[in-house]
């Protein structure tokens, strides 16, 4: 019997395995993952799961029984350490060697580590996995026990310092404010979300977080973390110091490409795949955060025609493409990226990719309200829209993008015009 092996047990794998069955794959399907869990949703980790509103089981993408019904098996807590493409085998850390007919790399990404003194202290965390969040919650509970949210160091409300003002840092800050701890964000750039949004959107999030009681310090580069065993102070290059019972570092991710690279597959800021999800070796495919992929729809935004994305919808779409390819069908990948982020009462929905924009226009009042849209344009053409509490504009933007319609920026910002009419 023919065998597909999927390496990595995350969002891409959770879509790929059932899609293979849907597309008619009759052979074996084995998912090998180095975490202890079957695929679970990562987005709630910095949102509902962080504050205990959801349990382990509730964030599973689907229960184990569902995979069983479709004859999809797992090997968990196992790390693949080597690929041998010439023999069509892979090697586990235990030394075991397993053969495959088709291989899918769904290895995702891991958190970027910052090599500063003190980052190994207890109470310093990164945030990517269920176990990371369990560690954070455990530490908070230990410091908080009995006395509402008290710091083990000072006896006051616990101090959490978040290093990095990206989406994950901001979401974590919002979640932790709900349980009443002090939250400080240290961002090295001159604004939060600098890599992904326009200054207006950064300004908006900085205002809301300040209103919610989060201290944001921009232009703050962490130099070292102090503590005796347990973290106590975070020091910045400027000389500023921040008391900390807990430090969460969220400074981005790096794709897990080493397996592919060592096996001689083409890698360029991600495992290089074509629009069918195929790598430079014909029976090896890849999907999700680990890939560098082409996207014909985004030619205007991409410099070398390739892109690496970190989002669930992308992992799902690519997985479907790979399932089709493995089953001998053709479902080329070309879709507009989209993303979301939930913080406090703010539902941010992003359509498209703003990279390369030359104009931003704002619909609504981002300075005083909690609802607006930032439209990103390039030579008059819509590239993306950041929609805060504007679900209608978000879905309109998605449609505008896929239709390639041009809308006059004056109209985009005119609140007296129903955005639905942009589609006519």
């Amino acid at each position: 019997m023919q065998k597909v092996i999927i390496i990595g047990s995350g969002h891409a794998a959770a879509q790929l395995a059932p899609s293979l069955r849907k597309q008619g794959w009759k052979g074996e399907i084995l998912i090998i993952g180095d975490e202890a869990y079957i695929p679970y949703q990562r987005p709630p980790l910095s949102k509902e799961f962080m504050v205990g509103k959801k349990t382990d089981d509730e964030i599973l993408i689907r229960p184990l029984s569902a995979y069983g019904q479709h004859d999809i098996s797992f090997k968990l807590n196992e790390t693949v350490v080597k690929l041998n493409p010439l023999e069509n085998t892979l090697t586990l850390s235990t030394g075991e060697s397993i053969g495959y007919d088709r291989l899918a790399l769904c290895t995702g990404a891991r958190t970027r580590k910052i090599p500063i003194p003190g980052s190994e202290l207890e109470g310093v965390f990164y945030l990517r996995t269920i176990d990371d969040v369990k560690g954070i919650k455990h530490t908070l509970d230990a410091g908080i026990k009995g006395r509402a949210k008290k710091s083990v160091n000072t006896g006051d409300s616990a101090n959490v310092v978040i290093v990095g003002g990206g989406y994950i840092g901001l979401e974590t800050a919002a979640a932790l404010r709900k349980i009443g701890v002090h939250v400080t964000i240290l961002e090295m750039q001159d604004r939060v979300l600098a890599r992904v949004t326009a200054p207006e959107v950064s300004e908006f999030y900085q205002r809301v977080h300040a209103e919610e009681g989060v201290q944001i310090h921009i232009d703050s580069i962490v130099s070292h973390i102090e503590g005796e065993g347990q973290v106590s102070v975070v020091h910045c290059k400027s000389g500023e110091r921040f008391d900390a019972d807990l430090v969460i570092i969220g400074v981005g991710v790096v794709p897990n490409v080493e397996l592919a690279e060592e096996a001689g597959l083409l890698v360029d800021n991600g495992i290089v795949v074509d629009e069918f999800g195929q790598t430079s070796v014909s029976n090896i495919f890849a999907a999700g955060d680990c890939t560098s992929h082409p996207n014909a729809l985004l030619a205007d935004s991409l410099t070398n025609g390739r892109l690496r994305l970190e989002s669930v919808p992308n992992a799902m779409e690519q997985a479907k493409t790979v399932a089709a390819s493995i089953c001998g069908q053709s479902l080329p990948y070309a879709s507009y990226p989209w993303f979301w982020s939930d913080q406090y009462d703010l539902k941010l929905q992003i359509a498209g990719l703003s990279q390369g924009f030359d104009q931003v226009v704002i619909r609504g009042d981002h300075k005083n309200s909690r609802s607006f849209v930032a439209w990103y344009l390039k030579q008059g053409k819509l590239l993306a829209a950041d929609c805060v509490n504007r679900p209608k504009e978000f879905l309109v933007a998605k449609k505008l993008l896929s239709r390639g319609d041009i809308v006059d920026p004056d109209k985009l910002v005119d609140e007296s015009i129903d955005p639905k009419t942009f589609l006519q």
């Binding site: 229960p63 669930v312 919808p313 799902m316 679900p391 209608k392 879905l395």
Partner: protein, 106 residues
């Protein structure tokens, strides 16, 4: 466990046991029923879990919230009994619920 009937656009019918407390979306995902994409995993952010609740059941599934209503308005082919299936919590009373899935979620 309540049984939910999912009818795809091409007429194919599926029955699924869905636990109380789960959602109509999750029932489809768990059972790998095509037609519900659920890209956002149920956070009411994507509108790719759109379904049409059978008329006889529409009154029993509760009311859509404001965000959901707006999203439905902009979904593909909205109808009076349209709902986002991730926002329908499964209860004992919904045993036998029938939902139809749209031809496309985009």
């Amino acid at each position: 466990m309540p049984v939910i009937h999912y009818i795809q656009a091409d007429g194919a019918e599926y029955e699924a046991d869905v636990a109380v407390g789960s959602t109509v979306m999750q029932g489809a995902v768990d059972n790998m029923i095509d037609g519900i994409l659920a890209e956002c995993g149920g956070s009411c952010s994507c509108a790719t879990c759109h379904c049409y609740v059978d008329e006889a059941w529409f009154g029993k599934v509760g009311e859509a919230g404001a965000t959901e209503k707006t999203m439905i308005e902009m979904a593909m082919d909205p109808q009076p009994t349209s709902r986002l299936s991730c926002q329908i919590k499964v209860t004992e009373e919904l045993d036998g619920l029938v939902v139809r899935l749209p031809e496309s979620q985009y």
